[in-house]
Amino acid sequence: MEKLPIVSLRGVTKRFGDVVAVNALDIDIFQGEFLTLLGPSGCGKTTVLRLIAGFENLDEGEICMAGSRMNSIPPNKRNVNTVFQSYALFPHMTIFDNIAFGLRMKKYDKNNIDREVMEALDIVKLAGLEKRMPYQLSGGQQQRVAMARAIVNKPQVLLLDEPLSALDYRLRQEMEIELKRIHRQLGITFVFVTHDQEEAISMSDRIAVMNVGKIEQVGTPIEIYEEPQNMFVARFVGEINVFEGKVLRIDNGSAIVSIHGQSFEVQNRKNISEGQDVRVLLRPEDIIVFRDEAESITDPALAGRIENVIYKGKTVDLIITIDAGETIFVTQFFNEDQEDVVFREGQRVHINWPFGWEVVM
């Protein structure tokens, strides 16, 4: 890869008293990408953002932007801007003055300020509201003002700290699309912090999954979802079912794994060896359910019983107890051609999955 990182963090550590919020973290953020820091609350993702913005001083390591070291540069001298979760609009200023604040601090002349502010208002689709006060706007509109106030400064990097979490579901989906549009339109780098994996998956170019101050995995949404590198990522991003198994033998490229006495063939991508204890991970939508009453099955499969049927509109979720003990979560899509396929509570079923759809670790 020839691209140079626009922001790079090397061995960044931040402590609050005895608590290590960020622990020797390394990451490169590239020009124009939409990078999401995803993790549970308290994992240090917001601290990373505040370190990049300059609101916190780091204890160890270094932060570079466009090649120069930023460690001791105060936030007002950094070419990044932040959109906060609480919006934090200036309550005593009109929308225009809110957005113009950054330009005024940089001593732009009046004509330039007028033009830039109007352009920013256009981008966030709030033209005409510039004379209002923040308290006169809805939450979604305030969110857009906060965006405009940041992007009007044309930062190299825009930092977004859970900007959508205060909005209701419909508005959030709308803003997700808006954010992507603004990102494409401006072509600047977005660093987005969220605990919502759906948000992360639908918007990001790359996701960094964080846990207790460290990055667990960095990758595209597809890589994170389909190829989680460890149990934390697998469990945090989406639902996952886990089966304990033992490798019986290795067949070039694939492995035979015994799960509850049944031998399943899995792909051997991680060089597992014979006799090893492994975990086989399956997403709910990757599992196939066979109803004992309707279909007979010859391939290896696990027998179980449907405990619960949850109708979701376009899908149906099944909670199935395997006879060997585990409870698993399965999502089935409705098949237009087989409208008579009905799942009932208490039904006997067998489950398995297509070869290669599993993750083994």
Binding site: P75, N76, N81, F84, S86, A88, F101, G102, M133, Y135
Partner: protein, 257 residues
């Protein structure tokens, strides 16, 4: 039925509160020196009031002290409140509770302790010591008023201002000051009225050469209430009415936000 009961009840409460003041205002127009009987309408006492040199001097002295003390207390108190909010320093909590303690401590204790302090450092009591004393007892009220507002702020607003390129001074002038303004005005008004009618602390901390209105009135009424005092009280009541109205409109504008 319940509505009219409520009305009667409220009328009694307000009668109880305002009747004495009303009587005082009426008597300030009574054309007699000693009698409490109505002897006809006159502006005589107002005329006498405004031509009474020593009384007017005490009144102006009071205004000067009240203005200067409240302004100094407002500036110091606002800065103190900002410091309590903005910076985490050792002993911050303890210091803030000491501010509260000062507000609760009896005036007589404060008056005597200040007098002792001035005597100890060899400061002659007079206008200057009086000013220092008034600043001292006004200060906590400003700190508490401003701090109450500042602690309701979204802290991120400060970070945003920095993020958008403001330095500490610009942040204070463009963001904090305008947002704090209603509390600063309220703190100032409070200080001004506290200073204007203080008797106890002033009694200990002023000297014989510098007379202020509350002390002057106090010494005058010991010889009996002159109608002139009624007139003065009426004027002061009118002044405070105006002040309260102004304060009300300033805070009302704010709560609309």
């Amino acid at each position: 039925m319940r509505k009219s009961l409520r009305f009667i009840y409220l009328s009694f409460v307000y009668l109880f509160l305002y009747a004495p003041i009303l009587v005082l205002v009426i008597y300030s127009f009574n054309n007699t020196k000693y009698s409490t009987n109505w002897q006809g309408f006159t502006f005589k006492w107002y005329n006498e009031l405004f031509t009474d040199g020593p009384l007017m001097e005490a009144f102006f002295n009071s205004l000067i002290i009240a203005f200067s003390a409240s302004i100094v207390a407002t500036i110091l108190g606002t800065l103190a409140a900002v410091a309590f909010y903005r910076y985490k320093f050792w002993g911050r909590q303890v210091m803030y509770s000491f501010i509260y303690m000062l507000m609760m401590s009896p005036d007589i204790v404060m008056g005597i302790s200040l007098l002792m302090f001035f005597v100890m450092i060899g400061l002659k009591t007079g206008a200057f010591t009086l000013l220092l004393a008034h600043i001292t007892f006004c200060l906590p009220f400003v700190v508490v008023t401003v701090y109450a507002r500042i602690s309701g702020f979204d802290r991120n607003v400060i970070d945003v201002a920095k993020d958008l390129g403001a330095n500490e001074l610009q942040m204070f002038l463009h963001i904090m000051m305008p947002m704090l303004m209603p509390a600063i005005v309220a703190g100032w008004l409070l200080s001004f009225t506290l200073s204007l009618d203080d008797v106890i602390v002033s009694f200990f901390t002023t000297g014989p050469a510098f007379e202020i209105l509350p002390l002057k009135i106090y010494s005058m009424v010991r010889l009996g209430i002159k109608p002139e005092i009624n007139a003065l009280s009426a004027v002061m009541f009118l002044l405070s009415l105006v002040t309260v109205t102004v304060a009300h409109f300033i805070t009302k504008e704010e709560t609309n936000r």
